[in-house]
């Protein structure tokens, strides 16, 4: 479904991400893992059109979306939830969700899906998004992205600022989401969580793909275990 080849992108003329090839098939959950500064966010932003691509191509459903502006990428069925979330703080939970379905009005099944995954949001539809707790904001951010029934959902470090228990329940929700058929691409520093959800993973280091493979293989890989799982 999503295919990035030879992707290079960066800031002020300097490449942060170099020569990245990445593939996500329909129905899969793929994780991109790496430490801070590895280039995960840069990679995601480049895919979504938030950052100019200096080389390479991105294809979504066979169509070339390289360098397409973010709003067009969103309308093509690729929803992105960045680490900063970018909710509309002065608008209510309900309004944030409504806008997720832009340009149309959402169909009721979208609300059902979101409320099933995140029952907390159903309890407080009129509350201003800016006044929600960190965990609730994360739920709202993901919920908003789902309102347009995207085919591919990209999440950048969804556990940012979440206590471990909340992080786990976030991934449970993502698992449930996966089972409804949504394709997932997740960038994550918390490797065990990410690999428990994903079918496949890419390890990013210094802007390049260091390793890739099925999650079980990555979990057993000694380098990965040493660097990211804290095992000697």
């Amino acid at each position: 479904m999503l295919e990035a080849s030879g992707l290079e992108a960066g800031y002020l003329g300097e490449n942060v991400v170099e020569g990245v090839d990445l593939r996500v098939a329909a129905g899969e959950a793929v994780a991109v893992i790496g430490s801070n500064g590895a280039g995960k966010t840069t990679l995601f932003r480049a895919i979504c059109g938030m950052l100019a691509v200096s080389a390479g191509r991105v294809r979504f459903d066979g169509r070339d979306i390289t360098g397409r502006p973010t709003h067009r990428v969103a309308r093509a069925g690729l929803a992105y939830v960045p680490a900063e979330r970018h909710l509309f703080p002065g608008m209510s939970v309900r309004e944030n969700l409504l806008l997720g379905a832009y340009p149309g009005r959402p169909d009721p099944s979208a609300f059902e899906l979101v409320f099933d995954l995140f029952p907390r949001l159903k309890e407080r539809p009129r509350q201003a998004a800016g006044s929600l707790s960190g965990g609730e904001q994360q739920m709202l951010a993901v919920g908003r992205a789902l309102m347009s029934r995207p085919r591919l959902l990209m999440l950048d470090e969804p556990t940012t600022g979440l206590a471990p228990k909340l992080a786990r329940s976030a991934y449970q929700a993502l698992q449930a989401l996966k089972e409804t058929g949504v394709t997932l691409l997740v960038a994550e520093q918390q490797v065990p969580l990410a690999l428990s959800l994903a079918d496949r993973g890419y390890v990013l280091e210094n802007g390049r793909v260091r390793l890739e493979g099925a999650s079980e293989d990555l979990e057993r890989n000694p380098e990965v275990r040493r660097a990211y799982l804290g095992v000697a």
Binding site: A74, E84, F88, P103, R105
Partner: protein, 283 residues
């Protein structure tokens, strides 16, 4: 006193609409449009010329609004594009300077070509008593139209998808992009709307006193004051500030004088910035 306050409300409703146009463009695009008042006088001129040419009143009024809105679109699609490519303070500064230049160009052209151009819309009829005060029909029409437009705007922003989309761009532009909203298109729409609002205020204002082509900068400064006091970027704030400042304005003009009134309004803006920068209802 009651008459003065009522007059103040009439004026204030128009101040409010004027401020909304200015505050919307700032909230959305980060641009302080110093050419805003020129849209108002442009509309007034178009209406005056059309009426003189025998065009029926409603059509002339519509033409004025259209020209003002079109002016906004042209400005957004041309000079504002390099401004939008800047960020933060650069953008505001460049936007301010470029629109100042545009204001001079339009002001110069209009005052050169139509040195005595002015619009006065005669709305006939006997004065109507409201709350014991005899109100001119022109004032009532102006207030009615302002209120209706204000309500329409409120509905637009609260209930329609496009209105919500506009608010979302003001609150978080990146977030808006993420849900598929094109901020550039919204900015163009709002520039058009703001032009139309300026034109509308000129037209309603002309129902009670003449609007001349030299009044461009006065409109701009007034809009700026209302927008600042209301809180830059807040539509409700601009409306509220408008009404309050309208009342302050008429009371001050009645009891003290015109020059002092202008100083009071300017001081209100300066004090807001110094004491409470987010204004009445801003974030």
């Amino acid at each position: 006193m009651r008459a003065v306050v009522l007059d103040g409300i009439v004026l204030g409703l128009q101040f409010g609409l004027l401020g909304v146009g200015m505050t919307l463009v700032y909230g959305l695009g980060g641009v302080l449009n110093l050419a805003y008042g020129q849209a108002a006088v442009l509309a007034a001129l178009v209406v005056a010329l059309s009426l003189a040419a025998g065009v029926p009143a409603l059509v002339a009024a519509g033409a004025g609004l259209l020209v003002a809105a079109a002016g906004g679109v042209v400005l957004d699609r041309t000079l504002m594009q390099p401004v939008y490519r800047q960020r933060g303070e650069h953008r505001v500064l460049l936007g301010l300077l470029l629109t100042l230049g545009v204001a001079f160009v339009i002001d110069g052209l209009l005052t050169w070509r139509y040195p005595s151009g002015a619009l006065r819309l005669e709305v006939g009829g006997e004065a109507v008593p409201i709350l014991g005060v005899r109100m001119r029909v022109g004032s009532l029409w102006a207030s009615g139209i302002s209120l209706a437009v204000g309500a329409a705007l409120a509905l637009f922003f609260r209930r329609t998808t496009l209105g919500r989309a506009t608010r979302s761009v003001i609150q978080d532009e990146v977030g808006a992009r993420l849900v598929g909203i094109n901020p550039a298109a919204v900015r163009t729409l709002i520039f058009a709307l703001s032009g139309a609002l300026a034109g509308l205020v000129a037209e309603t204002r002309s129902m009670t006193s003449p609007v001349s082509v030299t009044a461009g900068f006065d409109f701009t400064i007034l809009a700026l004051i209302v927008a600042v006091v209301g809180g830059l970027g807040s539509v409700a704030g601009a409306f509220l500030a408008g009404v309050l400042l309208g009342i302050v304005s008429t009371v001050s003009a009645f009891y003290i004088g015109q020059y002092v009134t202008t100083i009071v309004l300017l001081a209100a803006a300066a004090l807001t910035i110094v004491a409470r920068p987010r204004g009445l209802l801003g974030r």
